[in-house]
Symmetry: C2
Subunit: 194 residues, 2 copies
DNA sequence: TTACAGAAAATGAACGTTCATTCTTTTTTA
DNA sequence: TAAAAAAGAATGAACGTTCATTTTCTGTAA
């Protein structure tokens, strides 16, 4: 009840400020005072919503990761054939990285640094389960290569990072045809050759 | 003359300590005092070799990146046909990420965070030029897809990050066959379909 | 070869600043 | 009006960097 009275807007403002500042300066170069200022809040107020700085970044990570995966799986359901399922998930992930590039950058930073607790990292991985399940099904059906999930992810999903880069530079315009081509490359990396 | 007397061993020890500590804790969570201790040197001594902490990490980045690309291009020469050239480079990069996984982790962290100066980042990219030249040649010959270098890199080289991961977990043994398969996936992502 | 003087290199302690967090007080809410 | 929420100032620890001093090195004269 007490907690419920605390404004959800303020919490969101803190999460968003964290994402933006950490993207620009990195976690340890982002002081609590700056986060507070950007969220229009006193530094002390942060501690009403989060235990400490580490907790703030852990929670931010989990929240962004949850948004990411919710977006990724929004148009997918488990009755789809493997190839179709992979396609809709891949397309949604591409869309997310294009539209929510700040969120995507934040996740990339979290995934490549010791910034996040191991526990939160594990928690974040859980949200990807539907994709891992799809791959397991694909392997059983002989449609997907029998290699580790790390490798499948590295070859089909990680490459989408280029969407954030080109997004930020604005150098290359990305039309539907290019994206379709990228999808074909991703799919042919993980499907079994016939 | 003065500078030459300063021990190159000490400089190396500082660079190596930086890599190891930054890999474990992140740049801003790694105090100069800890780097000094690991290199068996006084904190003040660091400032005889580097201007400041930022300079230390910039120089470390450039040095590691130079090692990486030197390794990558060691067996390549420009007279090779495009496909062959790409193959030898790709294989060397895979080897590097397996054998020098600490260096590879460090580079991944630098490439995904605001830890490095923009100038040093640019400097690091320069070392990749032979690969970009190879791709340019490949595009001209119609062997390589006419897409941005970012995209080629994202689809053929970035996925090798899974080597560091599986390396660290030790969960999946990686035999020659798997690696060859990974190479085929990389190549077919960037070659033009016939 | 030894002794030694001057310079370079290295050191540990100290300084000033920054930052996460807490404390006390004020404001808002119900 | 009492309890919750928020605020700003205060606190203490940690850090990057510098300073004053000591140690090590190098070349030369006995």
């Amino acid at each position: 009840m007490a907690a419920l009275q605390k404004s959800i807007d303020k919490r969101n403002a803190l999460i968003n400020a964290t994402i933006e500042l950490v993207n620009n300066d990195g976690f340890h170069a982002t002081p609590m005072s700056k986060i507070a200022k950007m969220a229009c809040v006193s530094p002390a107020t942060i501690y009403l919503y989060f235990e400490n700085k580490q907790d703030l970044v852990n929670k931010t990570y989990i929240e962004v990761k949850a948004n990411y995966t919710a977006y990724a799986f929004a148009t997918y359901d488990e009755t789809m054939p493997v190839e179709k399922g992979f396609k809709v998930i891949w397309k949604r992930i591409a869309e997310f990285k294009l539209k929510e590039s700040a969120d995507a950058m934040f996740l990339a930073q979290c995934d490549n640094t010791p910034m996040i607790d191991e526990a939160s990292r594990q928690e974040g991985i859980k949200h990807l389960q539907p994709l891992l399940d799809l791959w397991a099904r694909g392997k059983k059906e002989g449609v997907i290569k029998p290699v580790s999930d790390y490798m499948l992810y590295a070859y089909s999903i990680n490459p989408l990072s280029f969407l954030m880069i080109t997004q930020n530079r604005g150098s290359v315009k990305l039309d539907k045809e290019h994206l379709d081509q990228a999808y074909e490359a991703a799919w042919s990396s993980i499907k079994t050759c016939k």
